[in-house]
């Protein structure tokens, strides 16, 4: 294993540990004792103490943290202070839904942004490139939930082509699953595609100026083939950084889009948890989101080495 791989893995694990402390710490310092909240204002101190014991919130903070962490490792997020249900299965369940949404949005973003950005770069002095650039500006300016509402109004209500929301697990009805996913994933993906396309454009523009692309032309490759064979993979290096950052944005964006399209994902779970003052649930969901972002960044770091031999530590 290369030194770089081990360092990145170390950084990943350390970030996880720090993130867990931060997430736990934030919710621990928030005012409002969960037992008191659960029992209401008229509860007797004995009853509160009893419930605190049951929740484990009577223990010192450090012990609570350790207990929570120990559970996290095996996927046990504890029981909700409000509904008394196990949090783990809910989070895992909802995570699956959100990952479908985010994954589909990312694929849509890439499918739109890579060709659009490349064309914008290659034709940056011509009308077609400028028109595309203008569209991507517009795409950045319009937020995902607005695109979502407009898409629902047009494709679902006016044309009745696609359902306006809801979620069906793919195992149950794959066709309905896809139909329901199209609008929310597009709404979420297009906003990111607009941003990503601009980065693809500038990365491809940079690559087009590179000497090795001129070498490729001098070898007898047509401009298009030179770009496809030698350019795009080089352009992928800066773009993959942006992609990693965007996945984090997508997870956050999903929270809003899930609301618009009535999708039972992690976002709606988080909002429900906040509304019910269900601290442990919120803590669990936020931690899962943080883990997801860290995993993505870690994966991007490893992806660099896969793309770029200069980072593989061979000299």
């Amino acid at each position: 294993m290369s030194h770089r791989f081990l360092t990145r893995t170390g950084v990943f694990v350390a970030s996880l540990a720090v993130a867990s402390v931060v997430v736990f710490g934030f919710l621990a310092v928030l005012p409002g004792d969960p037992a008191r909240v659960a029992l209401g204002v008229n509860a007797t101190p004995e009853a509160v103490a009893q419930l605190q014991k049951e929740f484990g919130t009577d223990r010192p903070l450090f012990a609570q943290y350790l207990g929570w962490m120990r559970g996290l490792v095996v996927g046990d997020f504890g029981r909700s202070y409000v509904t008394r249900e196990a949090i783990g299965p809910q989070v895992i369940d909802r995570l699956g839904v959100t990952l479908w949404l985010v994954g589909a949005a990312m694929v849509i973003a890439l499918l739109v942004a890579v060709p659009a950005g490349t064309v914008m770069a290659v034709r940056h002095r011509r009308l077609s490139g400028l028109v595309l650039s203008a569209f991507s500006q517009l795409g950045i300016a319009v937020p995902a939930f607005l695109t979502g509402v407009l898409a629902v109004a047009f494709f679902a209500v006016r044309l009745d082509w696609l359902p306006s929301g809801g979620y069906t697990p793919p195992a149950e009805d794959p066709v309905e699953f896809v139909r329901q996913l199209v609008l929310p994933a597009t709404a979420l993906g297009l906003a990111q595609a607009a941003i990503l396309a601009r980065y693809v454009r500038s990365a491809v523009l940079d690559v087009l100026r590179e000497d090795y692309l001129r070498t490729a032309r001098a070898k007898g490759l047509t401009p298009t083939r030179a770009l496809l064979r030698h350019g795009l993979r080089n352009a992928a290096i800066p773009v993959s950084t942006v992609l990693g950052l965007q996945l984090a944005t997508l997870l956050v964006g999903a929270i809003v889009v899930e609301r618009v399209f009535v999708i039972p994902g992690l976002g709606s779970l988080l909002l429900d948890g906040v509304a019910n003052r269900d601290l442990l649930l919120v803590q669990g969901v936020v931690m899962v989101l943080v883990i997801a972002v860290l995993v993505v960044n870690y994966a991007v770091e490893l992806l660099y080495a896969a793309i770029d031999p200069r980072l593989r530590g061979t000299r």
Binding site: Y212, T215, R217, A218, H230, D308, P309, G313, T314
Partner: protein
């Protein structure tokens, strides 16, 4: 049809707003003939080659005619697809910058194989890969099978240029265009690459158009030469005729700049006073970042056991190729870095142990001029501010009028008009920008001027004027000059004493003329052998003569 491989008639290159960058270029290449195209930067040499290849940058248009033997149509009227079939096949090109000319993400063997598979129908993947290794062997890469599996960043600049030559010659082209293929390389590596180009084209009967600013290289490599200026050919003919009896004054000027008379610097040794800069057993070891947890951080010796003295008033030259430790030494002398062991003293004061805040005396007395005149000037500052900045930084000339006067005097001293002060760096040419750098360096009235490759980015004619300026300023301002360069000819022109650096060691030190005429160290001899000169080329010294290294030094 004539027997010429390539016939170019009335070639012109226009910008789309109509401005002509190249006009009326006529040239022919016979099979196996080697023709040089010389001129200074901006003369249109590269555009001519790119126009022939059909690779002009966006916004430029070529007119006239370019005919290649064996093809029925004019290349300028040929469509992109048909042109692409010719490029890398019948018509090849090697560019200047080997460091960036290869795809960094692809193994070099694959890049060579690609050009074979593009143009040779029916050649299989394995056959192309095997042929690629064979080609890499022909360009004398050590262990070609291993080299084929390397990525570009694992090869040196010279090795990368070999790969590019292998690529260009892979399909036995009728014509090879070389655009400054050795200008970015060390002189000993240049000698080997030139030898390779000559041997490779001769072997295949390929016609060569060799573009360079270096007359000595053309004289060594080519039999015929075209002189280009401001977009047109001003003179052409056999090398020995053009270089011995130039008809055009511009050619004469280029020749004068290429072979400057040895200056009187060598005779000025006597005025050297007491030791001003003193380096004693200085060594600098760098540690590279870890590549593995199990092995210790790799250590690289940047400089080992270097000792010398520079006396006040001396003009001390430091010569070495890339990686020889020149920059490390400069950083130590300027107090920008500290030796791992040994000492560096300025006017008797040890500077290697002092923290930055106590090096103020050094910042006043030692000033630097850098290689890249455009990169070392802040593009958003006016020239007057740039020149006055050291005064402000050192808290001198606090009054605005006082500073303005000083700036005017300095600009005058370096030969720039007084109104230069209110203009921005981009409004000046490369040579003028280097004058600005020199004016800035002189602002605090330093005792020592360290010039790090100050003329390497400049054309030959500008180069000699900057050197003259430095020499006269050194006299008039009683400066001690430390002049660092890879170019022995330049150092010889200005320095009275030379130190030769090789792999971090000072292998030879002595009076300039002695080092030149009686080099003691084999490395110095090899360096001197490898330098092409017009005179020696006309006397019959060939590229392979330059490349023949003394046997006691390994090739690198």
């Amino acid at each position: 049809m004539s027997k010429e491989t390539l016939t170019v008639r009335r070639l012109a290159v226009h910008r789309h707003d109509g401005e002509a960058l190249v006009t009326g270029v006529d040239l022919t290449l016979a099979p196996g003939e080697r023709v040089g195209l010389i001129g200074e930067s901006g003369s249109g040499k590269s555009l001519t080659a790119l126009a022939i290849m059909g690779l002009l940058p966006e916004g430029l248009r070529a007119s006239g005619s370019v005919r290649l033997a064996g093809t029925s149509t004019d290349l300028l009227d040929t469509g992109e697809r048909a042109l692409a079939d010719l490029r890398g096949n019948r018509l090849s090109m090697v560019f200047q910058e080997p460091m960036s000319a290869l795809n960094p993400l692809m193994r070099v063997g694959d890049q060579v194989a690609e050009v074979l598979r593009l143009h040779q129908t029916g050649i299989g993947r394995a056959a192309a890969a095997a042929k690629a290794v064979e080609l890499l062997d022909q360009v004398r890469l050590p262990d070609p099978a291993q080299a084929a599996r390397a990525y570009p960043h694992q090869l040196s600049g010279g090795q990368r240029q070999r790969v590019l030559i292998a690529m260009a010659l892979a399909n036995e082209p009728a014509v090879l265009l070389c655009d400054e293929p050795t200008s970015a390389l060390d002189v000993t590596v240049q000698a080997q690459i030139l030898d390779l180009i000559v041997a490779g084209t001769a072997h295949r009967d390929t016609s060569l158009l060799f573009i360079t600013h270096d007359l000595a290289v053309v004289a060594t490599v080519c039999s015929r030469v075209l002189v280009m200026r401001d977009g047109s050919i001003v003179e052409s003919g056999p090398v020995e005729q053009v270089f011995t009896r130039p008809q055009h004054p511009y050619t004469q000027a280029l020749l004068d700049a290429a072979e400057p008379p040895a200056s009187d610097a060598a005779s000025s040794v006597q005025k050297a006073g007491q030791s001003l800069l003193s380096v004693e057993n200085a060594a600098r070891v760098y540690t590279r970042p870890r590549t593995s947890l199990l092995t210790p951080r790799p250590r690289v010796a940047g400089l080992r056991d270097v000792s010398f003295d520079v006396a006040a008033g001396q003009r001390f030259g430091i010569v070495g190729e890339s990686g020889s430790g020149k920059s490390t030494l400069v950083r130590l002398l300027a107090g920008l870095d500290r030796p791992t062991s040994g000492s560096v003293r300025f006017a008797g004061r040890e500077i290697s142990a002092l923290p930055e805040r106590r090096l103020r005396f050094l910042r006043e007395d030692v000033q630097m001029v850098f290689q890249d005149p455009s990169g070392s000037l802040d593009p958003r500052m006016r020239v007057g501010e740039i020149v006055a900045e050291p005064l402000v930084a050192l808290g001198r000339a606090r009054l605005r009028t006082e500073r303005a006067n000083r700036v005017r005097d300095l600009l005058d001293a370096v030969g720039l008009p007084a109104d230069a002060a209110v203009r921005f760096p981009h409004e000046f040419s490369g040579g003028q920008r280097q004058r600005i750098s020199i004016a800035r360096a002189l602002a605090p009235a330093p005792k020592v001027l360290i010039a790090d490759e100050p003329v390497s980015a400049l054309d030959a004619s500008v180069r000699s004027r900057i050197l003259e300026l430095l020499a006269s300023l050194a006299d008039s301002h009683e400066l001690t000059l430390v002049f660092v360069s890879h170019d022995l000819a330049v150092v010889r022109q200005i320095c009275d004493t030379i130190g030769v650096l090789h792999q971090g060691e000072l292998v030879e030190i002595g009076p300039t003329e002695q080092v030149y005429t009686q080099p003691a160290h084999p490395y110095t001899r090899r360096l001197l052998t490898a330098i092409p000169t017009v005179t020696r080329a006309l006397a019959g010294v060939s590229a392979s003569d330059l490349a023949s290294a003394p046997a006691d030094l390994p090739e690198h």
